[in-house]
Subunit: 341 residues, 2 copies
């Protein structure tokens, strides 16, 4: 079969080369090209069997129109919803997203960066584990834009989109104190990532202001949920004086609710509850659980906007943005005030 070029297609259909190119690169919507024309071009292309090899094209143009997205764990609803929103917005802008889970594993993340690199990814969106500073520096040195989200690497000067973690847990803990709770625990995953340290600090700051003593349980993350529930069960059995708890992540919060169900701990009668991250489990629990809602749409919007700006700036400026977004404390039945006897 004769190998057709975009020019051949454009001549045959009497439309411009640019239009054909936009359509074949999935940018028709963005460029407001009419559906009739899109269908005429794609139909013809199917008939004649024209297949642009995008890798060959990427070697020629230096662009693959693909973005690599690395989350910690795609089965976590927070990362899953962010990934979905980023994918949507990227697709509307003519970019495809390929993603993978880092598992917070430094070695795995380095391998994945290298794989993305060999596959000519144009830009990187990473929720970074610790220890990948050198790899990210190398990407930046080679002119490949990197935007981080959820947390950042303090020693690497690159763009990131985060939320105000410290204020979020400070504010949530203050809310419990104002409701009359005095023995407030904090249960979270053991981590020295920036966002997790800040969440811990916000909780401690609020308690310190009121001269209450912190009661903290840090649990080592485990894929097997039973290994998270067991130590939490022991913690709540030991600290029967707690009247409220702040959970550091949605995953910890969900496990906590399971522990309360098993131990027969009533919410909020025996224990007031606030969890980081908002999702359906918290909305549909009885009583609904007060949650620190991250602005997932805004996070996704900002991440993709910053990255697209970098991608569209030839020889891109190296000035980096830190965007810190606000969370929203969704107050629900699980943190309502203590009954005064």
């Amino acid at each position: 079969m004769k190998k057709l070029s975009i020019v051949d297609i454009a001549n045959e259909l009497k439309v411009s080369k640019t239009t054909v190119s936009f359509i074949l690169n999935g940018r028709a919507k963005e460029k407001r090209i009419g559906e009739d024309l899109v269908e005429r071009v794609t139909k013809y292309v199917e008939e004649v069997g024209y297949k642009p090899n995008s890798l060959a094209k990427s070697l020629r143009t230096g662009k693959s129109n693909t973005i690599g997205l690395m989350v910690e764990d795609i089965s976590n609803p927070f990362f899953a919803s962010i990934a979905r929103l980023i994918e949507d917005r990227a697709y509307k802008n003519g970019y495809k997203i390929i993603y993978c889970s880092t598992d917070n594993d430094t070695q795995k993340t380095r391998e994945l960066i290298s794989m993305f690199r060999d596959r000519h990814v144009d830009g990187y969106i990473i929720a970074p584990p610790e220890g990948i500073e050198d790899d990210v520096e190398q990407l930046l040195k080679d002119g490949l834009p990197v935007v981080m989200f959820d947390r950042h690497l303090p020693k690497v000067n690159t763009d990131y989109v985060e939320i105000d973690n410290l204020f979020s847990t400070y504010n949530a803990t203050r809310h419990l104190i104002q409701q009359g709770y005095k023995n407030i625990g904090f249960v979270t995953f053991a981590s020295s990532q920036t966002q997790m340290l800040a969440r811990m600090q916000g909780y401690k700051d609020a308690l310190k202001e009121s001269r209450f003593a912190p009661v903290v349980k840090e649990i080592v993350f485990n894929q097997d949920e039973e290994m998270i529930i067991k130590p939490m069960m022991a913690f709540f059995k030991k600290h029967q004086d707690l009247d409220a708890v702040v959970f550091g992540t949605n995953h910890v919060g969900t496990c906590g609710l399971k522990v309360f169900n098993t131990l027969g701990i009533k919410v909020p009668g025996d224990m007031a509850v606030i969890s980081f991250d908002d999702y359906d489990v918290f909305k549909l629990y009885s009583p609904p659980v007060t949650a620190i809602a991250q602005p997932v749409e805004e996070i996704a919007d900002n991440v993709i906007t910053v990255l697209l700006k970098k991608l569209n700036t030839k020889g891109g400026s190296t000035a980096s943005h830190s965007i810190i977004l606000k969370t929203n404390l969704q107050i629900r039945g699980s943190s309502s005030g203590l009954k005064i006897d």
Copy 2:
């Protein structure tokens, strides 16, 4: 800098070429190579700056050790957990997974297949939308293995892993009938995919046996949850005689619970509930929701086992497997029997 080969590295460190290769390809764990040796090799490789280009390697060996995984929507907990499990198992076998959401959009899926193809993906795992038969046929013709899951394309002869959808809803509906319910609705997404047709049929078969009339609501999928909740609200307001409902997917089920909360419909007093798919929302709801639990670990295991077998068979046999797994009806408080007045 002198370009080093694997042989140079092996000679310098006095270890075998194969060992170095396994380590650099991330297969050390699988090959039970000691951590000390792995560290010695990776450290040396870092020092000398050896960078294997895996795409160049894949052009040479014809293998990229990458698998493309296409789910419908990564923000759906069912697909997110399957993706995570497949990623885990693939990684342990020396394969990396890159994934993306098809959105059930035929055109987007075709573009994604073409992108994966240009990136030298070794094999494909797809929860297929309709209309991609030709693209899959072309992959198979070119010797690229494809395993489908969740649903299949009846006209394409390839491996797939599914569950027994018809029996699952038949069995769930029978359970409601045995509990004394007589006006049982079925609420689902409008779809002509194999798995959704089978779920509908199972429900209808059970009702027919008992000579009850089906009451079905098919909702057009929408990213905006409000557009799912609204028609469902109207449906339940109209059919006040319903005493039980089977939801066709976890997403529909979650929206249904939100509708019941808003309308003040008590579960199971006003309405007994069973949903397809089991996840934390259903486990933690009061009362906990009876769910048709898919064996997600088994699905992931079977998908990756079938695909690896194909990948490891040179010039692979074309015989295809259909693996149909059983679901488990998790009976909980939401479907307990009618009070006899």
